[in-house]
């Protein structure tokens, strides 16, 4: 039994993670490729919205990966490459939506809820302390 599990464990070491990025998409320049990977990891796949463009096997995600790489090859900065897609697909394309009127609750929400909780705890402990 131990041998079998050890063998299975070794097999697992041999396996490599499956990447959505296909070899023909990868840029020859490693620095550009690294920037492209960093950008597409922060882009939302427009078909399967929980995944990043870097992770997704969807055809459109492949097009977006190639589009980002083409922009970088043309000399665009990271921000320009992001803006290129944002102009076409909107804020949805960004995994971290920009802070704004509609997203304020999204960004502030957790802090707000924590604040309410802390306030409640403070009130309750103060009252308990006063009673004893």
């Amino acid at each position: 039994m131990k041998k079998i599990s050890a063998a299975l464990g070794l097999l697992l070491l041999l396996s490599s993670p499956a990447f959505a990025v296909t070899p023909d998409e990868i840029l020859a320049d490693p620095a550009l490729e690294a920037r492209a990977r960093a950008i597409t990891k922060e882009l939302r796949c427009v078909v399967c919205q929980g995944q990043s463009v870097d992770d997704s096997d969807a055809g459109v995600a492949g097009d977006l990966r190639r589009a980002v790489r083409a922009q970088l090859q043309k000399g665009a900065t990271d921000d320009e490459a992001r803006a290129f897609l944002r102009a076409r697909y909107g804020d949805v394309i960004l995994m971290r939506p920009p802070m704004g009127g509609r997203t304020a609750l999204l960004w502030m929400g957790p802090g707000l809820i924590l604040g309410i909780g802390l306030f409640a705890v403070w009130r309750l402990t103060r009252r308990a302390g006063g009673a004893s």
Binding site: V46, V47, Q49, G59, V60, D63, L64, A67, R86, A87, R88, Y89, G90, D91, V92
Partner: protein, 164 residues
């Protein structure tokens, strides 16, 4: 304790429930988003779209797409009613497109083959997708999935009201 403080958690819960229930009741689909192009000039591609004065419909489709076949009847009706419909065949084989149009009818005034670059410029996420462009070349509406004739006619009527 003041008497009304007891109801505070209940009131907070009711507010939270209302906040969550509102989009459910209204039928808001969080996976659907307005196009980033709305209110902006239409992309340069595909060329050959004449928006001089009259609105046009730009329809992304493919022969391998089932809802595309389903919407052809509505597109044909719109085209017969006088709306210029332009087709962009998305990642498709020209021969397959011709066969598709022979089977389902051809509503298009002009048609382009696209390997994905045109769709990217319009922010298309999948076929079918349709855009209503007004007479000044400004994108006014977008439909993801099969578009219905009455939806387009409603949008056209709204356009007419804005620009008499």
């Amino acid at each position: 304790m003041k008497p009304d403080a007891r109801f505070l958690p209940l009131i907070l819960f009711a507010l939270l429930a209302a906040l969550c229930a509102a989009p459910l009741i209204k039928g808001v689909d969080p996976a659907r988003h307005d196009s980033a192009l709305i209110g902006k000039p239409k992309p340069a591609q595909p060329t050959g779209i004449d928006t001089k004065g009259a609105p046009v419909l730009v329809n992304f489709f493919a022969s391998w797409c089932v809802p595309c076949a389903a919407e052809q009847e509505d597109l044909l009706a719109l085209s017969r009613a006088g709306l210029a419909v332009y087709g962009v065949a998305y990642k498709d084989d020209p021969k397959a497109v011709r066969d598709f149009l022979r089977r389902h009818g051809d509503p298009y005034r002009g048609r382009t083959q696209d390997g994905g670059a045109v769709a990217l410029d319009w922010g298309v996420t999948g076929v079918p997708e349709s855009f209503l462009v007004d007479g000044q070349g400004i994108v006014r509406a977008r439909w993801q999935g099969a578009v219905r004739r009455d939806e387009v006619e409603k949008a056209l009527a709204a356009l007419k009201e804005k620009t008499p």
